[in-house]
Amino acid sequence: MLALYLAQIVNSGLALGAVYGVMALGFSLIFSASRLINFAQGELLLLGGLTIMSLAGVMQLPPAAALLAAAVAGFVLGRTLFSTTLGLTLRASPLRQLMLTVAASLVFQGVAILCWGKNPLMPPRLIPLPDLRLGLVFLGRDTVTALTLAVTAVVVLGLFLGRTRLGRALRATSQNAVAARLQGVDTVFCHALSFALAGALASLAALAVGPQTGLRYDMGLGLGLKGFAAATIGGYTSLGRVFAGGIILGLAEAAMVLTVSGEFKETAIYVLITILLVAAPREHDERP
């Protein structure tokens, strides 16, 4: 019985955790490049997911095309977010930039309400993967999809950041923007790129989370917040650790779903996030 419970926790925890992990990567990209917390991260996922769902409604989307379309849609959304928020206020106080992303999240939500309505929508499974049984552990197809997508995204992103010239420029910008500019890196372009990449990641996460929970206009904040918490657990700097932060948060949440009631779970999770934020390692002391 206990083994069954544990298997259940692992299954749903990994599905949630993979999504949180990918969201956390998007947060970390933007945060490292521009020291800005993007409140509209969840809305990027929402609009990306809805766009792909509508696209799948009008044409046949094989898995590869769905992935590509999601990445492109997210990329464009993220770039749009940049040019309407941070791109306009590069010299403003961090607080104003932060509040602009809040306003942007309202605008994105408004677009979602106008174009897709207020009812939850169930997007189709665009990446059909089978269930997987590894000894005692059983992974449902949603979990397998989420994990595959997430791990692929981490690997591709890691290669991009580590091996390409552009990726190194992005890393240089996040380590020391002034020095990067002195070396001829276009830091504003790098900020824009980090937003666009975060958008692409969020859209890919939507492919995983959509068929699990459906897409609803007001889902963005909760997901965004948990992505942020996961990024905090992971410490913002290393891809692997940030992703692991997402998995840990997902497993913790799944464990609580099975042990305590629904609303109390939310309370416990948010108390936990607060404690984590306060007690997290101080390497990001005095950051914005």
């Binding site: 945060f31 020291r35 800005l36 917390i37 309407t84 306009l88 206020t89 010299r91 403003a92 961090p94 607080l95 104003r96 932060l98 509040m99 602009l100 809040v102 306003a103 942007a104 999240s105 309202l106 605008v107 994105f108 939500q109 408004g110 677009v111 309400i113 106008l114 309505g117 207020k118 904040l221 917040l225 942020f228 918490a229 905090t232 009631s261 609303e263 109390f264 939310e266 309370t267 948010y270 108390v271 996030i273 607060t274 934020l277 306060v278 101080r282 990001h284 002391d285 005095e286 950051r287 914005p288």
Partner: protein, 301 residues
């Protein structure tokens, strides 16, 4: 054009009083909601404008005030004089205690931590269904009973309660800003490390401003809870915190009147927009974004 501070304050409150006297009762219902928000904006100004600490927990403090007072009045209907100060002080103390460990956090992290405080409050209210009524809400039948004035009810009385609270808050805000403590807070905001090395106990002074803000929000919540006659988690949801923060940033943290005016004017405009139906969220977002950008462009010129 600069207007002397006392004159602009006097004009503002005179205009406010005129609005309260002239507006017909049924329209005051909407005005009172805006005033409730304006008091919360002022409360947030204590944390952010004076201490430089962002907070999204204002809704939780207002909610604590409302729920605390209404639930206690159900038990002891005649004890207004004890309950209201206790609730306000208690919430203020809680806010001060919460802010102490969070003092070291930077802006974004503090925003997230205090956002979690708001969410914890909402979810606790939902969880403790037997006491609070959960998502269905709770009827607030008891009124605030004051010894000489009798029971407080009606739109106009509430309007002047809110206006009085706003005036009291403004007075404390200005007195604090021009005091030694206010300068210590300004130092924390300007350069935290320099302030520490000059002997300012950062955690202590900031928790004081945070606590004052929490107490003021709680007082607004007390009035609001008894006024609406019905309290539910949605009234004191995160949206209230976000709105308060948005209007404060639009008006400029540290200014006294501008954020309050921004809240009253923009909120009135946004309530007219309810005719737009589903397009409302979009237009609200555009309006707030535009206000933020206009403020930035004006400041950078």
């Amino acid at each position: 054009m600069t207007v002397p501070r006392n004159l602009s304050l006097g004009l503002f409150f005179a205009a406010l009083a005129a609005v309260g006297l002239v507006t017909p009762g049924f329209q005051l219902l909407a005005v009172n909601q805006h005033l409730f928000l304006a008091v919360n904006v002022l409360a947030l100004n204590f944390c952010l404008g004076l201490g430089g600490q962002i907070s999204l927990a204002q809704a939780a403090f207002a909610g604590l005030g409302a729920y605390g007072s209404v639930l206690l009045h159900d038990r002891f209907p005649e004890a207004t004089l004890v309950i209201v100060p206790a609730v306000v002080l208690g919430t203020g103390l809680l806010a001060a205690m919460l802010s102490r460990p969070m003092e070291r956090l930077g802006e974004g992290f503090l925003a997230m931590a205090t956002l979690c405080v708001s969410l914890v409050f909402t979810n606790l209210v939902l969880t403790l269904e037997t006491v609070t009524g959960g998502s269905a809400g709770h009827m607030a039948n008891a009124r605030l009973n004051l010894p000489l004035l009798g029971s407080l009810s009606g739109d106009r009385a509430t309007f002047f309660c809110f206006a009085g609270l706003l005036a009291l808050g403004s007075y404390i805000f200005l007195a604090l800003r021009d005091s030694r403590l206010g300068r210590a807070l300004a130092a924390c905001q300007g350069d935290a490390q320099a302030a520490s090395s000059l002997g300012v106990d950062r955690a202590a002074v900031r928790s004081l401003s945070f606590g004052l803000g929490g107490g003021l929000s709680a007082a607004a919540g007390v009035i609001h809870g008894h006024y609406t006659g019905f309290i539910s988690p949605e009234q004191y949801h995160l949206e209230l915190s976000l709105k308060a923060l948005l209007f404060l940033v639009i008006g400029g943290p540290g200014n006294l009147l501008r954020p309050i005016l921004a809240a009253l004017v923009l909120e009135t405009a946004m309530s007219w927009l309810s005719v737009l139906g589903d397009a409302r969220t979009l237009v609200n977002g555009l309006l707030l974004g535009a206000a933020l950008l206009v403020g930035y462009w004006r400041a950078s010129r």
